[in-house]
């Protein structure tokens, strides 16, 4: 399994750059991945979604799909695209240190 140093931590990642062990994640890592994904600042609105995804991802063992986020976290799809442009569920899963959402098979 390849590893990568993000925000001073060595973490395991898969070949698409998703972290494979959610326990290795912390908020500094989130900020740095967000930068790489083109999000300069993580606002409170971003954190609300990230916190939901962390909680949901850890309890279910998989990253939530976009529809799950919009249904359960009370954020509209439109806002999700504004916060995490282009493939919001995938992007927020990456920033939250979760695997790729399984929605697309």
């Amino acid at each position: 399994m390849p590893t990568k140093v993000i925000a001073g931590h060595e973490v395991q990642i898969n070949d698409e750059g998703f972290m494979t062990n959610p326990q290795e994640w912390d908020k500094d890592i989130a900020v740095e991945i967000a930068h790489e994904e083109g999000i300069a600042d993580l606002t409170l609105a971003h954190w609300k979604v990230i916190d939901f995804c962390r909680q949901d991802g850890i309890s279910t063992g998989k990253a939530p799909t976009l529809r799950r986020i919009t249904t359960a976290a009370g954020v509209s799809t439109k806002d999700m695209f504004a916060l995490f442009p282009k493939g919001p569920a995938k992007k927020v899963a990456k920033i939250s240190g979760l695997g790729k959402p399984e929605g697309c098979v």
Binding site: L66, R68, T77, V105
Partner: protein, 411 residues
Amino acid sequence: MKKLLILGAGTAGTMVANRLANLLDENEWHITIVDQNETHYYQPGFLFIPFGIYSKNDVVKPKRDFLPSGVEFIMSPIELIEPEHNRVKLSKDGRYVPYDFLVIATGTQTHPEQTTGLQEHEWYKTIFDFYTVEGALALARHLRTWRGGRLVLNVVENPIKCPVAPLEFIMLADSFFHEQQMRDRVELIYATPLPGAFTKPIASKHLGDILERKSIKVEPEFMVEHVDPDAKKIVSYDEREIEYDLLISVPLNMGNEVIARSGMGNELNYVEVDKHTFVSPKYPNVFALGDAAALPTSKAGSVAHFAVDCFAENFTRYVDGLEMLPTFDGHANCFIESGFGKGLLIDFNYDTEPLPGMYPLPGIGPFQLLQESEANHWGKMMFRWMYWNILLKGQELPLPARMTMAGKWKN
């Protein structure tokens, strides 16, 4: 008598009824299957209707013809599943059907009403679907006199039933317009929420190259927010717009509403079950098979077939007090029609993405994986006969239910 109740007599429900009717002792088991419709549709055939390759008669047969004689068939909508009380309430006469074991196979349905502008005054005029027999027939009529322009195919949201069908549709459209000698007057665009032509990277690359050779444009990561049926354009959540002359939509797919009413589903009304055994984590006597299950594999008949293969044997262990074995691996095997009398085939599971190679015999085939060939096309055409005569009746195919790496090429 022990009571097994199956909800839904579609592909998965019919197959599991047949298989378990063979495996379980008829003196000990009473099997009941409930469905609200009389007609069984060969859904893979809908794809061919718009292009005049199949007619309605090719895709419909009575459900009863495919159910074994010992199985009780009740025709009724389902009101509510009450897993706490081990019973199901039917709409017809408000009757309750008790069970010892329940198999939910209520499938997935399309919901065009969930996208603003889709199912309004232009529905079946300039906007069509091909996931219903009505939509496919209406589109066939429309294409007979269509004079060309920009055809946009849009998938609203994943997961969808048969994730390769949109690709097949757009490639068959390319072939069809060539035959009609009007391809030069038609622009083909495939707008998908996915980052490329398909979900998995290697197949996406192969299929993306094929689409490019056919001059089919892919608009990736396009998540439609609304359709403007008057201005004839689709608008995405990130405010991209695509104009069309003819819009073919694959609407939002959701599991049956009875799942939501019964509080048994996820946000898309699919039932969460163990991905290797189909048993519900909450109710040890409840299972979900086929499209109704919330599993990370394709919603497709081939998956339901392999799932039933694994499930039926496992179920006979389970009712004898043994543990279920984690046998199902997410195996999917899908022909992809690519037009001009050719097709592709993909074979994959939870862990292995579609790879090039030969199937089912390594080095011999006769089917080629992830490459266009005439043999693959004939495989798809033969499949309709196999579906009606072998698969639905629960007879075994000489193909392993679990995926094998033999014959696949890893780069």
